[in-house]
Symmetry: C2
């Protein structure tokens, strides 16, 4: 494995285990078995290293989203959305310790914001992708014509995101699957044809 | 103003301006015009200080929630929910730099979790309060009998929470009011009698 990859792996572990606030480039370099000088040859600052971790090491909703899009027009829409919502709760729960950590450091937040802006990427892309899926189902008549795909996507993914946040902070029953099903059932009369 | 209050104010400012990762008790003590030793007489650790900031200085949804509950059975339910959702987006946006920062430090997260558990409090209380409001409207026949107040509350507040998160990270149109109205319109056929 090349040095850059080793540094990224070590940084990801340190950010998860120690937190964004406590992980230092010194420790990351040590864990990657390289010098701090070499680390800074690959990443110009701690912020740029973190940015690379966010862009290259953090699991995203793309896989669950691809599964969803592969099922346009197929099977039960309610079941497809429930499976997607459950995957979203789990992924957001996994990602939040890192994503939340960005807020601990305004400089890191600035770097991330500039990076998302320059590449047209960002966490909101998941909501746009879900809205595209709902629009495709709407064209097939499986989503109600009166439904607003953007608002429906924001409601469903937003609830999954906040649930994941709560799971880190308070003791909740271990029923994310029922939670996901309840969300989709609640939305269904306004969404599903 | 007594020392404890001065320290809490200085810590809140430092956490907002420098971020949870960069704010130090040394700087906080200096800004509060006291010694670090005195700071530690009031708060046994940096984590306990941050915990007190979260519990005593962070605006919560209680006010918007109280307005909502004062309007049970009154006016347009759709308008009442839209005003609440807009207030939630704004409050969550204001609070996220601090709330997100907790995730940068696993020790701080542990302290917060224990503190929420011992007092039965936490950010999920806002969703429970919204669900109580919807249940009260359901008893008056203004919310559909088939609607699930818990799921509806999770959908609406979750979307507001995630929107606030996105607003910190990516450039979005300045239309949180339309966003809030669209959420409620989307939910309405499944929620409002």
């Amino acid at each position: 494995m090349d040095t850059r990859e080793r540094i990224l792996d070590a940084a990801t572990r340190a950010m998860r285990d120690l937190g964004v606030a406590r992980a230092t480039t010194k420790e990351i370099a040590k864990a990657a078995d390289c010098s701090e000088a070499l680390l800074y040859k690959h990443f110009s600052s701690k912020e740029m290293l973190y940015n690379a971790v966010f862009r290259e090491r953090i699991p995203v909703l793309k896989e669950a989203s691809a599964r969803l899009h592969a099922n346009v027009g197929k099977g039960s829409l309610e079941e497809n959305l429930t499976a997607y919502a459950l995957a979203a709760v789990r992924l957001y729960k996994d990602v939040l310790p890192l994503a939340g950590g960005m807020f601990a450091d305004p400089m890191l937040l600035d770097v991330m914001r500039a990076s998302f802006a320059s590449t047209g990427s960002g966490p909101h892309q998941a909501v746009l992708a879900l809205a595209r899926f709902l629009r495709a189902e709407q064209r097939r008549g499986r989503v109600l014509a009166r439904a607003d795909p953007d608002a429906a996507a924001a409601l469903l993914l937003g609830a999954c995101f906040q649930r994941a946040f709560f799971e880190h902070l308070v003791e909740l029953p271990d029923d994310a699957d029922r939670f996901a099903a309840d969300l989709v059932s609640m939305l269904a009369p306004a969404l599903i044809a």
